[in-house]
Symmetry: C2
Subunit: 372 residues, 2 copies
């Protein structure tokens, strides 16, 4: 397999590393933009390159329902399908499926999850083996185990049940992926990451980290974070759990992506993040200033502001356009507003992560300096 991780430098618990994949190098810590339906919303992939992106996440749940993994496989996999030839990561689909559990639209058994397709109202069933098969067909460089992610407010018993199921499913995912490898499918270049669950309960996180680490995987993720629990619980769980993961493997904190989240997670020893937030808030007119504070472009104070979204930002939007112009575009409902704000917000978080990487390499990463 062409996948490899090298830990280059540690500064306290923070790490700088390099992930090698068939589709190129990823320098960590890394922020991964999300191409939910195999496109970054309001951007093309060249614009994403300009933002400094190194790897993109796409969602198995959405692609399975539309256009279907079969079509993407027929096209030659995600890279050929999108014409984006840098690394891809796909999630397992579990998170989106279990989000429907709260709406009573999903039934989970040890076999897998039955859920209702939002698009056509049809019932679907996905097992851990199905998720791996679908991800094999999609052809991302990194694929994720099918885990059971309970609600942030779940009880100890519910959380333990989901964790135990996640462990059993992890083994089944490893086996399914192994089977695909033996069948000489394109799976040979795919690294299967396993996921730790356990909610906000330290003993369960400890048990889950131990059980998952035993299954020798090319990378590990912390799941079930930022699903409704408190800020303090998130920080404690991430800090506590990260230390329990193998040091020589990349560590991925799923669905995390504010400036504060990123800084704290890197300080805890996390290497990878993803979040739809920067592009989602952009479509609602929000952008980061030079300190990472969210501002709303529609605000009247930007009406005659001919300066860039953020001073010193080198992104496409800031080097060409003023707050006044982008405010006008947003008010006039021009698509270009969403494009420019998305480019800016992605560039901000990617640049933040790259700056942190440099600080780690130079032994001067101070989380408080970023959060102050």
């Amino acid at each position: 397999m062409s996948f490899n991780f090298e830990l280059i430098k540690k500064h306290n618990k923070a790490r700088a590393g390099e992930i090698r994949t068939k589709h190129g190098l990823v320098r960590t810590p890394v922020f991964m933009p999300v191409a939910t339906q195999s496109a970054i919303k309001a951007l093309n992939f060249d614009q994403l390159d300009d933002c400094g992106a190194q790897i993109v996440l796409s969602n198995t749940y959405h692609l399975h329902l539309r256009p279907g993994e079969k079509l993407i496989h027929q096209a030659g996999g995600l890279h050929q399908w999108t014409s984006y030839h840098k690394p891809f990561l796909t999630d397992s689909g579990g998170f989106q499926i279990f989000s429907q559990a709260r709406l009573g639209k999903c039934k989970i058994t040890d076999q897998g999850a039955e859920f209702i397709d939002n698009l056509d109202g049809q019932k679907h069933f996905i097992s851990p083996e199905d998720s791996i098969r679908i991800q094999n067909q999609l052809g991302a460089d990194i694929i994720m185990a099918f885990d059971h992610c309970p609600d942030g407010g779940a009880s100890y018993e519910e959380t333990k049940e989901a964790m135990d199921r996640t462990h059993a499913w992890a083994e089944r995912c490893v086996q399914a992926h192994q089977q695909a490898l033996e069948n000489k499918t394109r799976a040979e270049d795919q690294a299967l990451f396993l996921i730790v669950q356990g909610g906000i309960f330290d003993d369960l996180r400890k048990e889950s980290a131990a059980a998952i680490s035993k299954l020798d995987a090319p990378g590990y993720a912390i799941g079930g974070v930022s699903v409704g629990e408190s800020r303090e619980d998130i920080d404690r769980v991430v800090d506590f759990t990260t230390e329990l993961l193998p040091e020589d493997k990349p560590r991925y904190l799923m669905g995390i992506g504010t400036k504060e989240d990123i800084v704290k997670a890197v300080a805890a020893g996390i290497d990878m993040f993803d979040c739809v937030m920067p592009t989602r808030i952009a479509r609602h007119g929000a952008f980061f200033d030079e300190n990472g504070q969210r501002l709303l472009i529609k605000n009247a104070r930007f009406k005659e502001d001919f300066g860039p979204l953020a001073p010193n930002c080198k992104c496409y939007a800031c080097t060409r356009h003023s707050r006044a112009y982008i405010r006008h575009l947003f008010r006039a409902q021009e698509i270009l507003a969403a494009t420019l704000l998305s480019i800016h917000n992605l560039t901000y978080l990617i640049q933040l992560t790259e700056n942190i990487r440099t600080e780690i390499l130079e032994n001067r990463f101070d989380p408080n300096k970023h959060l102050g």
Copy 2:
């Protein structure tokens, strides 16, 4: 003034020329994409460059209402405002205002037009002098006289009244622009084009062309075309009227832009066109095939079509993406679908116009070959 037109070559009535402006050269015949609210819908200006665009039209009516010409003037004019430093053309606002007349929302007198702002329901009044003042503030390279464009179904009397008013207003526009020039405003680099009216009535068109041509202008336009009249009337009026315009000045057919329209108009001696159609139909999923036929990307037959939108097309979309991928993006309501289809459609019409130019230069422009 830095504006100049050179007629380089004639082949039958078709012409190849060059317009020089302060912001660069425009080779004619030319298709002008429309940036209604100072942005091309779903595109940025670099993407527009990639489509081969040489000059962009923006709408005075929309910009006057939002964000207001004062703000754009404050930014330094349209070029600074948008960071697009190629030539701009602004229309007079008249067409959009008079479109509201049909809805009973517009009152026209010899003084000007009173209309209701769709955005805030407020009454506005614009005179010919106002339109020129607004366009002086916007700062486009080419500005248009404020004309009275009647409905395509207007009677002879109504059409004559609108034509007479257009002639009187043309003189007032010339005077207002002259006044601005004497006041040493940025108007000095702006060429004011005058507009011929007269509807579908040959004698009125003849009278209007004579009256307007007498006012020595840097360019002339044919207005009141494609506003509800028949295909035959359009063709006859354009063919008839174009010949009556001064040969040494650029000729602009307003609001025209299908392949058929362009080919016929060039054959009649027209140099400039604009139309929102290629980007508007793109947002509804329509694109041109290699013959200029409109196809709908959502069509099931494109589901597994991994070929480009049009064979041999060199546009950004066709050199990277398949019909199957773009179909998926369109069905998934991804903004990128509108962007890719807009790029393709604009490139198609711009490339068509450039091919025609080459044919004229090489004495081999045959309209029937394009229309066959």
